[in-house]
Amino acid sequence: MEILFQQIVSGLATGGIYGSVALALVMIYQATDVVNYAQGEMAMFSTYLAWSMMNAGVPYWAAFFGTLVVSFVGGLLIERIVIRPVEGKPVLTIVIVCIGLLVIFNSVAGWIYSYIQKPFPSPFPPRPIMLGTVVFGAHDVGAIVVTLIVLAFLYAFFRYTTLGLAMRAAAQNPASSRLCGIRVGWMLAIGWGLAAMVGAVAGMMVAPIVFLDPNMMAGILIYAFASATLGGFTSPGGAVIGGLIVGVIENIVGTYVSFIGTELKLTVALAVILVVLVFKPSGLFGRPAVHRV
């Protein structure tokens, strides 16, 4: 029983990370109809920036928030400078630009910081928490809490602030929004900035567990896609829940389905998602797209 509980908690912790990255993906998708393939690499790069700051002596929380600011600005600038020239072009064209960003960030990070992994500090104490015989790290719990805080912040932002309202309007109906005086282009840019920020948080939460190296986010991005697909690309909350579910399923399958064992762990996790899609084609919490005829 404890094993089950242990695996569930571990799964929730990694799932929280998947969920955060999935959240960033969904945010950009909702605002721009584009899936940002470079989300993982941007998060990785933000984490390296944080590492550089800490390496230069900046204390953890100062570096953390400093990175959030830099990531926000970075994401905004990327949207304005790199994505803007292809705004309005076919979706796949924009996707290729995102893929271009992906390889650029990955390659530049490897060039600047080398490919040797680096340890990344965690703000939570290394003391393990014991619940009976189940052991889990304070960081695991802390990461889940941080993810939820970020989600709550975003929810409040979009629901209760004018800027949030303007952004939602710009995403849903750009033409009418412009007529209301909303600067749609800048709303998109802010959307990217926020997503970059969320990604940076995810990166800084996951790096203490998986160690910082340029390929750190590749595996996580894959699971983030799975999470967003499972939860539904039209639902930020769904993305996070999708992440948690994926994290837990992955661990449970690896532990309990013994004839499959770990050599098909990924396959089974993906198969589960595919099965869900057959019954709920827009994900668990997604709204099916409605097309005007």
Partner: protein
């Protein structure tokens, strides 16, 4: 461009392609054979994504299936290599069709991600069935030898063989896409509801397109197994599927010539990037990608088509080209 001019151009290109072995080294021929192989795979993907509007991020899976089909047939049962191509193609056609059926329920983005999941699972599945696939060790093959005692090198033979297969498949695709079927396929992409209302059996066409698209990519996979003479699971990873997508977008969606252009791009541009910068070659490649999309947002073939259409309009001719 008039049909005559187009035919003339095609013949010239064909002549160059056939004469190529006289001018270039075996190594370059090897690279061009790869280009032709990619072109077939990209045409397959283009049929599905460009012409039919179903985005697939998982065609690497069919490429792998085709490659391993060929490899296993040659390695285990000594099947002549030429026979492995139709078998690989047929197997992938069936697999693609079967995958296409549940995929009918999925919309754009979710379909893309479902196929992405498929591509992700491929290396693991290949490694799991190691009695068949040789597991992580992979399968080593021998390069096909020129038949009938022809006095050419194996590389030259393989080049001609691949070129011939490519021409046949391209010809078939062109006929398919230029006729009623092609129009139905495109209609489904542009307006599924209207297409259905006009009496097109949308689900059938969509699934069939998936199947044919997978079949083409499977044949390409089989050819690549012959050319590289080696298959290993981790080669067929997610990045391969993404590379195919890059190929068709850069080449030009819904364009047959775009498939060949895309093939050239994904084969040669990473090498050029390495020549430019040893330190961060993929950053250069990424810059290439982005700049190409800025300058030619509809791909090379797509943009060429646009320019030509513009020229025609300006010249005042009202021909449909």
């Amino acid at each position: 461009m008039s049909a005559r001019v187009r035919l003339g151009l095609l013949l010239v290109l064909l002549a160059i392609a056939v004469a190529l072995p006289l001018f270039v080294s075996n190594f370059r021929l090897f690279q061009f054979t790869q280009v032709a192989t990619y072109a077939i795979a990209l045409l397959g993907l283009n049929m599905l994504t460009g012409y039919n509007g179903q985005i697939s991020l998982g065609h690497g899976a069919f490429y792998a299936l085709g490659a391993y089909t060929a490899a296993i047939m040659i390695d285990k049962w000594n099947v002549p290599y030429a026979l492995t191509l139709p078998v690989a193609g047929l197997l992938c056609l069936v697999a693609g069709f079967l995958f296409g059926i549940p995929a009918l329920r999925l919309e754009g983005l979710y379909l893309a991600l479902a196929t992405f999941a498929l591509a992700l699972a491929v290396p693991q599945i290949l490694k799991y069935f190691e009695d068949w696939t040789g597991g992580s060790q992979g399968i080593v093959l021998s390069k096909p030898k020129p038949p009938w005692g022809l006095a050419i090198t194996p590389d030259q033979w393989l080049y001609f063989f691949t070129l011939a297969v490519m021409l046949v498949l391209f010809f078939l695709a062109r006929n398919l896409l230029a006729g009623r079927t092609g129009r139905a396929i495109v209609a489904i992409r542009d307006n599924p509801t209207a297409a259905q209302a006009m009496g097109i059996n949308t689900p059938l066409y969509k699934s069939l397109t998936f199947g044919v698209s997978a079949g083409y990519t499977g044949v390409a996979g089989a050819l690549s197994a012959l050319t590289i003479a080696f298959v290993a699971p981790d080669t067929f990873n997610v990045f391969l599927s993404i590379t195919f997508l890059v190929g068709i977008v850069i080449g030009g969606l819904a364009s047959i010539s775009g498939a060949i252009l895309g093939g050239f791009f994904i084969q040669f541009v990473p090498n050029w990037a390495q020549d430019i910068s040893k330190a961060a070659p993929w950053a250069i490649y990424g810059v290439f990608l982005i700049l190409t999309m800025y300058v030619m947002p509809f791909g090379i073939a797509g943009t060429a088509r646009l320019l030509m259409a513009r020229r025609l309009r300006r010249a005042g001719t009202a021909r449909a080209g």
